[in-house]
């Protein structure tokens, strides 16, 4: 064990300072296995060493928060059932960006698998999954083929895993930008339900309790890249092992059922999944959380291959594995359940009182590290930051529409705004029969059969806004998520975030991260949506080109279980209101809009201006009207602005609209600006809506009526848009498939 040279240390991405810290913790030099363990636990992915200083700024508490950040998922109380037992949701978002670029199908599939384990390891049954996806342009001359291949692989990977596991994929969003070509984003959100008295934590409690390994056997897959890059300490046999893991959703389904059943025995003291950093992470974190230590012997770990070294076993990221601690004397109750489900379950060690993570191999100690410093005392970096990276002008280019109808059609056929049915029809979104609203709405809704409530969920992120102004972009994201929930009548209660950024060692990238976190913190505090956990994905760069700063937020809300109010106009002859009014717009603030992207084909200026206090009042109006049964349809305005929001409202039932506006704004701005705080509502009782709006001091403009199959928009008598609904819908509905299969262009 004398191979620890500065090169070996560097190959593990451990800096010389960090290495000195390791020596101080151990009181000696680490051996190779220990160095590997430190390198994964202190990696950016596991330790959040670049972001933790700033993550502390996020709000994490409310009276509904049962468990905040630090556990496998956040937990909120969603109220009692008929017998008075409180029910809870566990939810979290996590990224699998890098693996999905290397191997789209398995990268995305194991991303789904990982987040599902985070949910059920706490005792919750997963009832919904959503995905935020970012890809390079499908029309890119150079990379279009690859981008299409990545999209198809990611979508089928998500479908493969979620469908087989039996969790509905109920929504999400898919956005395309050139900056994601070399760095697609795959962020997966999952949500589960359980009773408050049946929550399990990842704690190795109870000295002398047995530690049990369950699930798939350990193989050499997923061992971190550093080992593969360095020939001097790897066997020839593993030189070319893939470092993307392979998922087995069938195994995960068995693991889910077996874990939930084993938890019912009352014989489990603590449980944690083996995700990133596998056995290493679960062993030291469970000990650290409980203030205990865990001693395991690798000889008992079920192995898929022969001749694996302790280093490989500890760092393997084989999927579908869990580590649990049973109460001493009751281990057979647990083992019997896993046997019933045909799964490997082996006692591999026990809980100790000395706070050490001690790893033996056939009785010989191969690693011995104090758990708490390893798990919780990773180096913290307050990395320098300057002004956010920005290489686009503030001033707007000269632009003028040649044909507004053609612009609307172009938006309908654009990658970002077109119908994503081709994607979501590959996902089983109705399994478990809880889906009240699936993909295609402002928010997805699943009911909780056990206590009669429903959960509304929205995922959102806008890289263009955040690039133009990280702080304001992050606030707009929070506002839009909450607005989406208001449109289905739900009250937001919590959030989870995925921070996808470039290299934090670049001060201008770090500045994006810091400002976005601060903006998110402000908005989440204001909208009372504590962030109970999430994920940070940094170094999203290829050849020095960073992605747009891309925070993604998932917000969950509570509502009554009832037939949902959807975005589509339901009947002709109804009044259409624009709650929140026309809003303010100017050329500079058009720079991040879909109009700028798809029609002007430029990026400039600033994102739309947000007044959070006004925004919140708009939510109150909309939520009151929707929950009170006044709205026949409700749809928030965001990407594509007023004209696009109106068009989308016509697609579902083919019902059109006649709109009369009275505005000073030039047509391009009036129709397509993306000012927030605006919601379209169609109603048979406009007077009641006006009263609710007036009580909140929010303008509710009656802008027209639903009509037969045509969409007409006039301003002060001048016709701006006049088109059959069918024409726009056709373009919208067929665009994605055409883009994916248009091989002629290539």
């Amino acid at each position: 064990m004398s191979q620890i040279t500065p090169e070996v240390v560097a190959a593990h991405s451990i800096t010389p300072d960090e290495y000195q810290r390791i020596i101080a913790i151990l009181g000696r030099e680490p051996n190779l296995t220990e160095l590997g363990i430190f390198s994964v636990m202190w990696s950016e992915h596991c330790s959040y060493k670049s972001s933790r200083v700033h993550l502390k700024k996020l709000p994490t508490r409310s009276k509904l928060v049962v468990c905040g950040p630090g556990e496998n998922a956040g937990i909120l109380n969603i109220g009692p059932d008929a017998e008075g037992h409180n029910w809870c949701i566990a939810y979290k978002i996590e990224s699998h960006n890098h693996p999905s670029f290397i191997e789209p199908f398995q990268g995305a599939a194991t991303g789904v698998g990982g987040i599902l384990r985070d949910i059920f390891t706490m005792g919750a049954r997963p009832i919904a999954v959503m995905d935020a996806l970012r890809f390079g342009s499908l029309e890119d001359v150079e990379n279009g083929v690859r981008n299409r291949h990545i999209l198809e692989g990611v979508v089928s990977g998500i479908a493969h895993y979620g469908n087989c596991f039996g969790v509905p994929t109920v929504g999400g969003e898919t956005v395309f930008e050139p900056s994601y070509a070399g760095n697609p984003l795959v962020n997966v959100f999952a949500l589960g339900v359980f009773r408050e008295d049946q929550i399990f934590y990842g704690k190795a409690a109870g000295i002398g309790n047995p530690v049990i390994y369950v699930g798939a056997k350990t193989g050499r897959d997923g061992i971190h890249g550093a080992t593969m890059a360095s020939g001097e300490f790897t066997e020839d046999s593993m030189q070319k092992r893939p470092n993307v893991q392979v998922g087995d959703p069938f195994m995960e389904k068995l693991l889910l059922e077996a874990c939930l059943e084993a938890m019912q025995t009352g014989a489990i003291a603590g449980i944690q999944d083996m995700g990133a950093a596998g056995l290493t992470c679960s062993t030291c974190e469970m000990g650290s959380r409980a203030g205990t230590g865990i001693e395991i012997d690798l000889a008992y770990v079920p192995q898929r291959e022969t001749g694996m070294t302790p280093y490989e076993i500890m760092l393997s990221e084989s999927q579908e594995r869990m580590l649990l601690v049973a109460y001493k004397g009751r281990e057979n109750e647990v083992l019997d359940v896993f046997k019933k489900w045909g799964l490997d379950a082996r006692i591999v060690g026990e809980v100790k009182d000395d706070g050490m993570m001690r790893v033996k191999n056939h009785g010989e100690v191969v690693a011995e590290i104090p758990s708490r410093p390893l798990a919780d005392e990773a180096p913290l970096y307050n990395r320098p930051f300057t002004k956010p990276l920005r290489n686009v002008p503030m001033e707007a280019p000269a632009f003028a529409s040649a044909d507004l109808n053609a612009d609307l059609l172009a938006l309908a056929g654009s990658m970002d705004l077109c119908d994503k049915r081709w994607i979501w029809e590959q996902y089983d979104y109705t399994v478990r029969t809880n889906t009240v609203q699936g993909p295609g709405g402002d928010a997805a809704i699943v009911r909780v059969k056990e206590n009669g409530t429903s959960i509304a969920m929205s995922l959102d992120g806008n890289g263009r806004y955040t690039f133009l102004d990280p702080r304001e972009g992050a606030k707009l994201m929070v506002a839009e998520c909450c607005r989406n929930l208001a449109c289905v009548g739900a009250q937001p209660i919590g959030a989870t975030n995925n921070l996808n950024f470039g290299n934090p060692e670049r001060p201008e990238i770090m500045a994006q991260l810091v400002e976005a976190i601060e903006g998110m913190a402000d908005a989440c505090t204001f909208f009372e949506t504590p962030i109970t956990g999430g994920n940070v994905s940094l170094y999203n760069e290829t050849l020095g080109d960073p992605i747009f700063p891309s925070p993604v937020l998932g917000i969950v809300g509570l509502m009554k279980t009832e037939m949902p109010v959807r975005i589509s106009f339901l009947n002709t002859g109804r009044d259409i209101y624009l709650v929140g009014g026309i809003g303010a717009a100017d050329e500079v603030r058009m720079g991040g809009t879909q109009y700028a992207k798809q029609i002007v084909k430029e990026l400039w200026g600033l994102p739309p201006a947000l007044d959070m206090e006004f925004e919140k009042r708009v939510h109150t109006v909309v939520r009151t009207a929707v929950a009170g049964g006044l709205a026949e349809s409700a749809h928030d305005l965001s990407d594509g602005g007023l004209a696009w929001g109106l068009a989308e409202s016509t697609f579902g039932n083919g019902i059109g609209a006649e709109i009369e506006l009275d505005s000073e704004l030039r047509p391009e701005l009036l129709l397509f600006h993306e000012g927030p705080s605006r919601v379209l509502i169609s109603t048979a009782d406009g007077a009641a809506l006006e009263r609710i709006a007036a009580a909140q001091g929010v303008p509710a403009l009656k802008i027209g009526r639903t009509a037969e199959s045509t969409l007409v928009i006039r301003n002060r008598g001048a016709v701006l848009i006049e088109t059959p609904v069918r024409t726009v819908r056709e373009r919208w509905a067929t665009a994605l498939e055409a883009l994916l299969h248009d091989d002629v262009r290539v």
């Binding site: 089928s156 479908a159 469908n163 087989c164 596991f165 039996g166 087995d248 959703p249 069938f250 195994m251 389904k253 068995l254 489900w341 045909g342 979501w424 029809e425 590959q426 996902y427 089983d428 979104y429 109705t430 399994v431 478990r432 029969t433 889906t435 009240v436 009911r447 059969k449 279980t561 009832e562 037939m563």
Partner: protein, 223 residues
């Protein structure tokens, strides 16, 4: 009436079938474990959707060897009511209780969406309370739902009035738009669409109740 819902490792619509029968229909429903050898007095067996045994090898190919399937076969041979939904349909064809096979969808992709169906016959315990030529809407959610059989089998199915459901718009390339079929004795139904996911207004359709009500009728008459 008592429904027995078989749980194979990897079944994932077992809950949906159980919930539809017990909660939405208001009858008894119980789970049956794949390694059990008896059916606990069930009056109708449901083989639910999902991915039994991971659908490794071929969909339904391993499930047919489960101990419970021997009991299900005896039950069916004695005239007992058996309904296989989605993966359950695949298991029935693999087990030889129904003819034909379910192969990869024509478009090679998993498809989840509500589909319109017309009952092909009302002369069955599963369709007796539906109306001929009146469409019903159930969701589908499958990757391997394309029904295939040789021409003679297809002719025979038609001649014997054993097409239980046909797609109005064929989503997966199934021959002769077949969505569900009966065995010769008419007490075994296999269908790809999910009637159990259409048993409540919140699910988007209550048409699936028609299948369950038919079963209740048939059972009451038979008894």
């Amino acid at each position: 009436m008592k429904f027995g819902v078989v749980v194979f490792p990897g079944s994932n619509c077992d809950h949906d079938a159980w919930y539809a029968a017990s909660h939405n229909l208001g009858h008894q429903a119980e789970y049956l474990w794949h390694s059990d050898t008896e059916l606990k007095g069930s009056d109708c067996i449901i083989l639910p959707g999902g991915f039994s045994y991971g659908d490794y090898l071929r969909c339904g190919a391993i499930a047919k060897f489960s101990p419970i399937m021997a009991a299900v076969k005896r039950f069916a041979a004695d005239g007992g009511l058996v309904m296989g939904i989605c993966n359950g349909f695949q298991i029935l064809t693999e087990s030889g209780l129904l003819p034909g096979a379910l192969v990869r969808n024509r478009g090679l992709k998993f498809i989840c969406k509500p589909v319109r169906l017309v009952p092909g016959t009302l002369n069955s315990p599963f369709t007796n309370s539906l109306e001929l030529n009146k469409e019903v809407t159930f969701p589908i959610a499958h990757g391997e739902g394309c029904f295939t059989a040789d021409a003679r089998t297809l002719d025979e199915l038609e001649a014997e009035d054993r097409i239980a459901f046909r797609y109005v718009e064929n989503p997966n390339g199934s021959q002769r738009d077949i969505a569900g079929i009966l065995n010769a004795q008419r007490n075994v139904l296999g269908l790809m669409p999910h009637p159990e996911r259409a048993t409540e207004a919140l699910m988007g359709s209550t048409d699936g109740l028609g299948v369950f009500h038919s079963l209740v009728n048939a059972f009451a008459t038979h008894k």
